[in-house]
Symmetry: C2
Subunit: 308 residues, 2 copies
């Protein structure tokens, strides 16, 4: 999706109505009650959509050990997107506390606690793989994950937030099961979006890998058909025939990438995994974009699916 098309009338209207409240950094917003009501309705609709999955529900935090992030190679693949938690004073733009020099030793120790460095979670499912480190998984397992994510992608486009929530259904098991889960959710997410009046299409996609080496990784990912997104076309505000697209769901087959990295044992070697991730703010925004800024006036069928 291009960065600029949504920066005009749609963003202005969202802000004017208090649906999004800019907080002084691009892609970081407060959410008004009406916006959150849509997000809650989308969560509930996704719960109903996945109710046959016998999934183990989890809520994961916005931070997790940076070492687990390294184990998957994320910092090398996405150095431009990731974030780690540092103390004040380690950033050049942050002054050290004025009384630190005068502090007694016991206080100094409190500034550098012996706990693993923390990374911000880049995709809701990531901490779940580390959580299964060295586990043995027999028949395949589905997780239903709610998480808060961070990606350093400052943008005026409300569809591209730096802090956002994902809902994911994640599979761990054998290769056939992982591929079947991915394929099931490609179909199911398109059908779900259709019922929401969002005309989505499947699109082969690649992750935004970094740098020259990243272009090769992306080409490999595309060639393997490992990532399929459900995308909708947005109308540009000032034209009638140009479109930008935005991905509302992403269905990914990871092979044994996570299983091998964390020693998660499946029936025949490391588990294979796959996931579908829904961007909750994006889904709410797409509904507001296509059906208007007043949910009370959305089509009856859409309101019914959302339980509104």
């Amino acid at each position: 999706m291009a960065d600029e098309p949504m920066s005009g009338t749609f963003r202005t209207a969202l802000v004017r109505r208090g649906l999004l409240i800019p907080l002084g950094a691009e892609g970081v917003y407060g959410h008004g009650a009406a916006f959150e009501a849509v997000v809650d309705a989308v969560q509930n609709a996704l719960t109903r959509t996945g109710s046959d999955q016998r999934a183990t529900a989890l809520r994961l935090p916005p931070v997790y050990p940076a070492a687990d992030c390294h184990t998957t190679g994320y910092p090398e693949a996405f150095p431009h997107l990731g974030g780690v938690v540092s103390s004040f004073g380690r950033d050049a733009d942050v002054r050290p506390p004025s009384d630190r020099a005068a502090a007694v030793p016991e206080d100094s120790r409190r500034v550098t606690p012996r706990s693993p460095a923390l990374a911000l979670v880049p995709a809701a499912c990531h901490p779940a793989y580390a959580m299964h480190r060295d586990a043995e998984i027999g028949d395949g397992r589905v997780l239903d994950i709610r998480g808060q994510c961070f990606r350093r992608e400052p943008s005026q486009d409300p569809f591209r937030m730096q802090a956002f929530r994902q809902r994911e259904y994640v599979y761990l098991g054998d290769a056939d099961g992982a591929r079947a889960h991915r394929d099931r959710w490609v179909a199911r997410s398109l059908e779900f979006l259709d019922r929401l009046g969002l005309a989505a299409a499947p699109a082969a996609a690649a992750d935004p890998f970094f740098g020259r080496g990243g272009r090769l990784l992306a080409a490999n990912q595309l060639a393997a058909g490992a990532k399929t997104e459900a995308v909708v076309a947005l109308r540009l505000p000032d034209t009638t025939d140009e479109h930008a697209t935005v991905a509302l769901a992403s269905c990914n087959y990871h092979g044994d990438h996570f299983g091998a990295a964390f020693g998660i044992k499946g029936p025949d070697g490391p588990v294979h995994t796959s996931c579908v991730g829904f961007g909750l703010e994006r889904l709410a925004l797409a509904l507001l974009y296509f059906h208007g800024l007043e949910p009370a006036r959305w089509p009856g069928g859409v309101r019914q699916v959302l339980g509104l």
Copy 2:
């Protein structure tokens, strides 16, 4: 609250039942579905408890501009607790991406986007003051805030998480209104906890300011009676007569600290502010601690207040 008393049987039981799932860093947990059901019930009960406040509901993100954090003096007062978001490679324990040197210039630009440095939100209400920068507030305003917070306090004690959620009712207006809001919520939070079967007591408190200068700040805060916590006493697992206490709600009168910092104009000078903050994970844990690990078996009156 002491750091260690809860590290034994209670934490073990929470983990064994999948209520909390350790993620490899102290104070960072995944939450099981049963735990989240309690948190959701607490949220709904707090909504009912504050329904007369005509509050503007907001959901705030886990990060906000670091400059806003500086404006309030937080990094100087709490350098040991705060966190800022850095890129991978700026921390000593994080290697730079292997192909960064070979990256083309356009990729390098993507690693250092021109957007404000971000801090992790230390208390749910903090971004709300910056949000009202230079605003004029006439009659007093109450905000109902849900937020995700971070404090660098690694601990085995489940009551002391590094990543946690708060619900706050925040007042902005004149000094009398701010004090009245604080006093109202001291009484109301004690009553709320009583209805939940949690025998809480009010306790004058001070924030955990850093260093030698911080001890003076804490003494001043105590002398001014600016902070009152609703605390419950926990039984230590291996003794019968010792107790640790944990704060479940914190009621704070800030004077014009935030109003002056952000130029928020009230009827006679900078607005005065006050807030009540509830720790959602702590409330859920206190219910599990005092009433047992099976919400279905909690006292009928408690279940009724929670809508369970």
